[in-house]
Symmetry: C2
Subunit: 136 residues, 2 copies
DNA sequence: GTTTCTGGTCTCAGTTAGAGACTGCAAGCG
DNA sequence: CGCTTGCAGTCTCTAACTGAGACCAGAAAC
């Protein structure tokens, strides 16, 4: 289980090294706590740095800066700096970011439809409410 | 940014508390490093505990046990114990788990189509290769 | 003069994931 | 008989990651 053999199972029969599976690489990003939320906030309109912080109250500046940086590196958002004083930085969705949101549509619908039943099951199953919930 | 006002933005205009947004709750689960991989491994056939460990070589027993537990709590997989010695435990997909995989289809297609371009951008953008990648 | 705003970075603590040892029992092998 | 293997997990220790909040410098409002 610790030997990292290649040719492991992956999504849609990807048979290469696990770390190179494209779906894994993409989901690792958008599956984190903030990326998707940021993308969906930017979907309606471009936002400035602190405006994003206000729109998503429980993100820290540190994670906001870091997540924006990786989203930009992935070409999902753009970043533009206007040389005013103080310089104002604006972020917005790229075409690729928008296409990701579109691809997410069915999943979002599924989540909305299934959420009540899942939450009921989760409650019935016991206290396992957040994360992987290993016993303390 | 630290005041947790409710009525924050969420997916598809969810306006309640961020923690109750159904899409967030679902994505927090399937977005983690192992849930989706496990689900897709179980899609083809039911597996026993150690068989899953062999199919996904780089998961630790600890995360395997924990992730299976939460997937079961969410009603995405079933778990059946046969009282042999030693008892053998089998896991498989439920109908709900299968419906999630179906909903994931467009996202998987998108990821496959976009992965080369994203990886190229990521390389061009610099060393930000894994995770949020805050500078050391 | 003090506060507030701009976009971030830095440091410190707390939480979390991963590695690997450990449990107890049964079967296979020499 | 003794050794190893496999079963399904759990336990502990350490490494990594996350969140909270201080800090920067300049400008505008009060």
């Amino acid at each position: 289980m610790t030997t990292k053999t290649s040719a492991a199972v992956c999504i849609d029969g990807w048979s290469g090294d696990l770390d190179t599976c494209p779906v894994r690489q993409v989901l690792d990003r958008i599956g984190d706590r903030w990326s998707l939320l940021l993308l969906l906030t930017l979907k309606d309109a471009p936002h400035r740095f602190n405006a994003l912080g206000r729109a998503i109250p429980d993100i820290s500046r540190r994670m906001l800066a870091g997540t924006l940086k990786t989203l930009e590196a992935d070409g999902l958002i753009w970043r533009s700096v206007e040389a005013t004083t103080p310089p104002s930085v604006t972020y917005g969705l790229t075409a690729r970011g928008l296409s990701l949101i579109m691809a997410l549509g069915p999943l979002v619908e599924w989540a909305f439809a299934q959420a009540p039943a899942i939450l009921a099951d989760r409650r019935r199953a016991g206290g396992a409410v957040s994360g992987v919930a290993i016993a303390p």
